[in-house]
């Protein structure tokens, strides 16, 4: 399953992007790359098991969900920008873990 390996690579790139950036929009791009990796995985799984109809139905639903999540996330980022004037993720570190 070659595609599986590449999906994992995409996943790694996405995680690294989320962790190593200081810009809120780039964090969202990182999440997007993660979702792409997983989309590839779903289609590959569907192809291998012969279940492409189901896999495509799943992917379409996932894409719809992804759009809504991104819209809401962008709304939150806009809110942060209105309050602080910048998109620096370090402003978000105020709350302690």
């Amino acid at each position: 399953m070659v595609s599986g390996i590449f999906a994992v690579l995409l996943f790694a790139i996405g995680i690294y992007c989320i962790l190593a950036t200081h810009n809120l929009i780039r964090v969202l791009i990182g999440i997007e790359i993660l979702i792409k990796g997983v989309t590839l995985l779903v289609i590959a799984a569907g192809l291998k098991s012969g279940n492409l109809g189901l896999a495509q139905a799943l992917v379409i639903t996932i894409i719809v969900i992804e759009v809504v999540i991104m819209t809401v996330a962008v709304g939150v980022v806009l809110g942060v920008h209105r309050l602080t004037g910048s998109l620096d993720a370090r402003n978000i570190r105020k709350l302690k873990g």
Partner: protein, 476 residues
């Protein structure tokens, strides 16, 4: 018919948004009525409601939904906590347009949670988990103030990672089983027997749902998000969303789909135990009211997972009962903290003191909530904790049973600290002229307190039937 629990809230949202005059004022009453009806429908098990069989809808819709006793417990809690949140929103959401939006989003969240509780298909479970997640993003960021937005963003990122892990698990299961239906996957897994893909898929699901439940070591987002969300959103989040989206989903997929293998059990037990102890220890050191309650939530969810990990009928019944208990006492405590916050304007417990005289009802209900959480008889919390501890002991995990008891003692410790610092002790000068909180916060608090006491007193009689109801779930 089960689908109505999903369709009715959704259709209400549609109706409420029609451009007819006076619709906005209907919103509160309609939502309150719906939640109340949901609670009532669950309590009457043989009602025509559950038996109205697919005559009308079957022609058009073909939903795979089912409500066994575990789902019914969760459905009741959803109705209860949503009703409480609705009341608290009256105080905290000022503008009437905002109230309207809040109620609509709350209805959608309830819609999603009901569907999660009744889903019999792993991908549909995931879709409605996302519905719940997106509604909670909006609710956390509702006030558009900096803490809320920060909390919402953190939650979005963590929820996104959990989402991706879950879809990856689903992809692997589709590869093996060719379907996303719980029973089909269950049979396929029994036939498969120890392949690497299966273990990988199980691992992915478990990690994803641990993140969503806020268990150690993935709990980092929980205190921040609970504390920074506006008060009604915190009540909803702590009371039911984390439980439905995280814990219930975990219980459902372990019980109905994955089955209990030794490795799953040991992971569940270990993570549960760690969450119980570390959550309680962390709660001891907090000085923010809500933050202490968040760590307490982590600890209590650990109990539920311990009950699940025991793998016996008693343990899982105990876990389900503890879901109800945690929903009731945690919502009560968050309502109390909202009441205190609304009158005092602060959540710093070191600055408070002696509020028992000034806010008697809040103080009394918070004592009831705290005692139930610590597991003191005859309140309801005692029974569920007892069930979990006995289940662990009987199955042979004696060490974990001891840890559970230890956790109870720690819980009592931090709640005594809370009570002493906030309600008893010397009254502080800063907050001299404080009156009791308003009706919209007191009514749900009193109602929940009464419910907790009643459940605790009635439990011995009702427990046997309750536990027996779980046998078909585990056996099958």
């Amino acid at each position: 018919m089960c689908a109505s629990l999903i369709l009715i809230p959704f259709i209400s949202v549609l109706i409420l948004n029609l451009p007819i005059k006076g619709m906005k004022r209907l919103a509160f009453g309609l939502a309150a009525l719906l939640f109340l009806l949901q609670m009532v429908a669950v309590l009457i098990p043989d009602a025509a409601f559950w038996k109205i069989n697919h005559s009308f809808c079957a022609g058009i819709f073909n939903f795979e939904l089912g409500a066994d006793i575990l789902s019914k417990v969760v459905l009741f809690c959803i109705g209860m906590v949503s009703l409480v949140t609705l009341f608290s929103a009256l105080t905290f959401v000022k503008d009437s347009d905002e109230k309207f939006n809040f109620i609509n989003i709350l209805l959608i969240a309830v819609c999603g949670m009901n569907a999660v509780a009744m889903a019999k298909d792993i991908f549909s479970l995931y879709v409605f988990l996302e519905v719940v997640a997106v509604s909670s993003f909006i609710l956390i960021a509702f006030n558009r103030d900096m803490p809320g937005l920060e909390g919402a963003f953190k939650y979005i990122v963590l929820s996104g990672v959990a989402t991706v892990l879950m879809i990856a698990g689903i992809a692997l299961l589709v590869l093996i089983a060719g379907s996303t239906n719980f029973s089909l996957i269950h049979y396929m897994l029994i036939a498969q027997n120890k392949s690497l893909i299966v273990s990988l898929a199980i691992g992915l699901f478990i990690v994803a749902l641990f993140i969503k439940s806020g268990l150690m070591p993935f709990h980092g987002w929980l205190p921040d998000v609970y504390t920074s969300a506006p008060a009604p959103a915190s009540v909803l989040l702590a009371g039911i969303i984390t439980k439905v989206a995280g814990v219930y989903a975990l219980i459902r997929i372990v019980v109905s789909m994955l089955g209990f293998s030794a490795s799953i059990q040991s992971i569940l037990l270990f993570v549960g135990a760690v969450s119980v102890i570390l959550g309680a220890l962390a709660a001891l050191t907090q000085s923010d009211f809500k933050r202490m309650l968040s760590y307490s939530s982590i600890s209590q969810v650990g109990y539920i997972i311990l009950g699940l990990g025991s793998g016996s009928v008693l343990g899982i019944a105990g876990a389900a009962f503890h879901i109800f208990n945690h929903a009731s006492f945690k919502s009560l405590l968050f309502i109390n903290s909202a009441a205190v916050e609304s009158r005092l304007g602060s959540r710093d417990i070191d600055k408070m003191g002696g509020l028992a005289k000034q806010m008697p009802l809040t103080s009394l209900t918070s004592v009831i909530g705290s005692l139930s959480c610590a597991g003191i008889p005859p309140l309801a919390g005692f029974w569920s904790k007892l069930m979990i501890i006995i289940a662990l002991w009987l199955v042979g995990f004696k060490g974990y049973a001891v840890i559970a008891v230890l956790g109870s003692i720690l819980t009592l410790a931090y709640f005594l600290t809370l009570q002493r610092k906030v309600f008893f002790g010397k009254p502080s000068d800063e907050f001299k002229d404080i009156k009791e909180a308003g009706f919209s916060l007191m009514f749900p608090a009193i109602a929940l307190a009464v419910l907790i006491v009643a459940a605790g007193l009635l439990a011995p009689w009702l427990l046997k039937g309750f536990i027996l109801g779980f046998v078909p779930i585990i056996g099958g």
